[in-house]
Point group: C2
Chain length 599, copies 2
């Protein structure tokens, strides 16, 4: 693999030299700042061999560096081995960011190039400023990788479909109204959207252009009195065209967005999102209009699920939890009796989901890590590289589905046989943290930063940390990761921090990752709810959507507080009450046992 990487670097450097470019930057992003890009856009993976979902590559004449976050340190180390690419561990002490690195390493008069469609406006502008200081320049109309990527996959163009209004809770017209109110609060009469999940939400449509994310390649422009939806021509069926004709929406061709922007006469300021609009779009808009920077109003509106969406999700999560319960039962009853591997276990889980009513797709590729493989947060077993499962140690499985009714995400770690005391201590501390956050009460105005220590505290007490946030937002029949809400203890540049609002759905997933030994994660999804309002303010709390047992074989109650044990027993009682009615009698009696009260 890494010989291929070396060859590709060589080929790219040849082009760089020919064009007088000293630094070439390649992001993970597609043109829409998607977290998971379709294969067509995987230039960074093509060039570096690193397969994680977050990582940016800087190729220079002599050196090359890859920046990725804590979820991927172990994986990136492995995948970059022998490639000459240096790993920059984001947010670690003393590790420069890409811009800090450029600031220090770019020589006077040099040129930095990138594909401006794949670089966020904020970053592009920062780089522009650095190059300006160095009397160099930024070239952003270049896609060098395309020139050497001869077998590049074609760009996806799948059918787009409209969702039934009944499961959306709001019409397109109502959503456009909400967005325009938010726009006018920022004194803007126009909004350009390129974030696909925002566009899907706003227009009550879905697509299939990104694996696991039911989104379509699209752009949108909202003006005071019109809204333009840009879709690929071949993705639009007659049925969809008819439906759109009945909406306050003008359908346009995806390929013509840049042309449209170039020719647009703007009435009033244009709202752009620094993180979610590409540098290329920003440069076009800036030429003809006043730009106001601000978050896409769609992002916050989308994150606060309405009652229809929440009702749908509650139901879907019961079905999805049932799937994980069945997996747990199968695993516990068959381990050591029939051959199993990380791959076949994941396949078993995925098939259970596929058989579930309303299933559309997985919401991300199932992570199934055994023993030390589970220490890699986003480990993917492959045909070439996987472990057989035995009746010992622990298995971590993190998985979810896209259903017509919601997007799910859940992680459980199971004992497959004897485990060490340390593993039990770690598992118990993780469960305590997850349950403390789930049962946390807080005042309105809190962000995830205020609450993170509820989940992380039991680990910090043991001098252990997990190098990622505790929770992310989750879409509704949309991306499994969505903003702006999250639970983290610190925020890197560009990360959003917002008060947790009623209806926001979040994951709650503390973990322990001991390199070379074991990995544990327990993840529930929860909804933010209003509680008592009194003279001290509006109190808030969470409701769990996930109802899957926490493996009692891994629980050591001796290190738990009274409250932690109550939390666990109360949760397990609810799991039984909600899931048993969906089960056969035999399954229900098994569930009764694994959700038994502990002391």
């Amino acid at each position: 693999m890494n010989e291929r990487v070396c060859e590709r670097l060589k080929a790219l450097r040849k082009i760089m030299e020919e064009r007088g470019v000293q630094h070439y930057y390649i992001t993970t992003a597609d043109y829409h700042n998607s977290e998971y890009a379709d294969d067509y856009f995987k230039e960074r993976e093509f060039m570096s061999g690193f397969t994680g979902s977050n990582g940016n590559l800087l190729i220079e004449s002599e050196k090359a560096g890859l920046w990725t976050d804590g979820r991927y340190f172990i994986q990136a180390e492995k995948e970059l081995e022998g490639s000459e690419i240096t790993l920059f561990r984001m947010a670690e002490e003393g590790v420069p960011t890409v811009t800090e690195y450029l600031e220090q390493n770019i020589q006077e008069g040099e040129i930095l190039a990138f594909d401006g469609r794949t670089v966020a406006a904020r970053l592009g502008r920062q780089m522009e400023a650095i190059l300006e200081k160095k009397k160099g320049k930024v070239l952003y109309h270049l896609d060098f990788v395309d020139e050497i990527w001869t077998d590049r996959p074609s760009r996806k163009c799948n059918e787009v479909f409209a969702l039934d209004e009944k499961i959306c809770g709001k019409t397109v017209a109502q959503k456009l109204d909400m967005v325009r109110v938010a726009m006018s609060k920022k004194n803007c009469k126009n909004l350009v959207l390129s974030k696909m999940d925002d566009i899907m939400w706003l227009f009550n449509i879905r697509g299939k252009d990104v694996k696991c994310n039911p989104v379509a390649l699209s752009y949108a422009i909202i003006t005071e009195d019109n809204s333009y939806l840009f879709l690929q021509e071949n993705a639009v069926t007659e049925k969809l065209k008819d439906w759109i004709a009945k909406q306050p929406v003008t359908l346009c061709d995806y390929e013509r967005i840049m042309e449209f922007l170039q020719n647009q006469t703007w009435n009033g300021a244009v709202l752009l999102d620094n993180e979610n609009i590409s540098y290329a779009i920003y440069k076009l808009v800036k030429d003809s209009a006043e730009v106001v920077w601000g978050d896409n109003p769609t992002e916050l509106l989308k994150s606060m699920k309405n009652e229809v969406e929440l009702e749908m999700m509650r139901e879907v999560y019961l079905k999805d939890s049932l799937v994980v319960c069945r997996f747990m039962k199968w695993m516990k009853e068959n381990i050591g009796k029939i051959p199993m591997s990380e791959l076949s276990a994941a396949e078993y889980m995925d098939n259970l989901r596929r058989e579930t009513e309303g299933f559309l797709d997985l919401s991300f590729p199932t992570i199934c890590g055994y023993k030390e493989n589970a220490a890699m947060m986003h480990y993917q077993a492959t045909e070439d590289n996987y472990k057989e499962l035995e009746a010992e140690s622990m298995l971590l499985i993190d998985c979810g589905g896209q259903y017509l009714g919601g997007t799910t995400d859940v992680t459980r770690t199971f004992a497959l046989g004897p485990v060490t005391e340390v593993m039990k201590e770690h598992f118990t501390a993780v469960a305590m943290g997850m349950l403390r956050l789930l049962n946390g009460k807080f005042l309105y105005g809190c962000t995830g930063r205020n609450l993170d220590i509820l989940a992380r505290g039991p680990l910090w007490d043991r001098n252990i940390d997990y190098k990622c946030g505790t929770g992310h937002g989750i879409g509704y029949i949309l991306n499994v990761h969505e903003g702006p809400q999250n639970v983290r203890w610190r925020f890197l540049e560009g990360m959003k921090e917002v008060p947790l609002e009623e209806g926001m759905v979040l994951s709650n997933e503390p973990g322990v990752y001991i390199e070379g030994s074991h990995g544990i994660r327990t993840e529930n999804i929860m909804v933010t709810k209003r509680g008592e309002k009194n003279g001290d303010g509006q109190f808030m709390h969470f409701e769990s959507l996930t109802f899957v047992p926490i493996d009692l074989d891994l629980i050591d109650t001796s290190i738990m507080e009274k409250k932690d044990i109550e939390n666990l027993n109360r949760y397990h009682k609810e799991v039984y009450e909600k899931i048993a009615p969906l089960m056969t009698e035999e399954e229900a009696s098994w569930l009764k046992e694994v959700t038994r009260e502990v002391k």
Copy 2:
């Protein structure tokens, strides 16, 4: 009282009308943004009758409004009664800030006036921007209150003294070096300081110009190769003059700071602190130099106590804790037997402190609140208004001293006899919170925002909040409140949020305040320490400086977790071990009893 306020408002409005001013703004601040201003500066109190330590007054032709924070809501309501001044409860939902209020209420072409020496640059600049938008203007060279305040107290001018280098840990020259390194990191060659405690720290001097704060009216200017210290001429003794002559410091006259700034030819940019430099100074500097906004580097350097300071503080806190233990014993043994009042109890406490070796002053006026009076966070009993103490309910006492060796601050709430179950529950939840924060472990990089919920959680779990931060920084023989560190769950505009650094000293003081019923606060002071450093990062924790029993008569162990009980017993064991050796035998045996292990 409020007739007087009404008359004063009338007189001020007359001047406003004569000068064509529609809005006149009066802050709590002196010229140095001190939290506690000397009587000379108490224009806001003179004009409104509100005596709290934080509150800003806006007087308009027809209306008047006072903005204050949650500590003072109850008190301000009382003191403003019948004055026509509207109370604006800062940070409450739907309550505008002063600038939001101005934005909404200023009419085109109107004039806003204030004394620019008492308004922070940030706020002055915000107001300037609002007035500009409204085509009005800001006048900042006016002090209307001075014109009607005929019996205004004279400005303090007490002797300034130098501290022995041995108790400072660093020389003036060393501190100037540290400050210049920090300045150069911001590409600044000059720094103007007007925050008195920063100046005292930097020059190893102290004064007596503000009650309870050992500071002198002063300014300072640090350039690349000189440092100018501005003191009132009559405050400088021959001895001090001789000492300053040996330091790399030029002594200047306090009265001539504005003139000096007007005539200064600057070499390089000037660093100014938006919050701590007055608008008047900013306007002068801005005319002749490039201004760089940034925190005073002195503030952060001062907050990280060195080992000499910490050793001195540990010793002083033992002596001070002994004082509070003696008060507790006296109170518990004599309540109901001898007449006592809030006033006489505070006097008893203050006298115990005054008799302590090294005592200089109180660090703030002792707060001694009985029953519902304790619900006012910063209640002050007066000769006209105080409660007698009886053998029932609870007494809250919050007090501290300035010693040659440290500044102390401590709060305890004691049962004086029978209490209700609710009081015990509230007291226990407060103790749990205080001890959870004290025993918290966290990663380096955390700010007080990450940790606040440790202290506040047991109250939030009960739908109770306290409307103030959990902790503030504390000076070394300096102000009892200092920045930039703090523990809060949210930050209002202008509040600083910094990672907790080794050596930072913080208060930890959760509370419950039930208007008309009772108030509880338990406050320890603690030092931030480094713990284990491993692959997950640098872990941090706290060390307590305060060693005073937590009243077991108010503890209900049935609502505590195992860990909370361990925290309490461990703390009480330490209290006994540290304080008993300083006590008589009879006292020590009493202490043994009140620090007994509970279950």
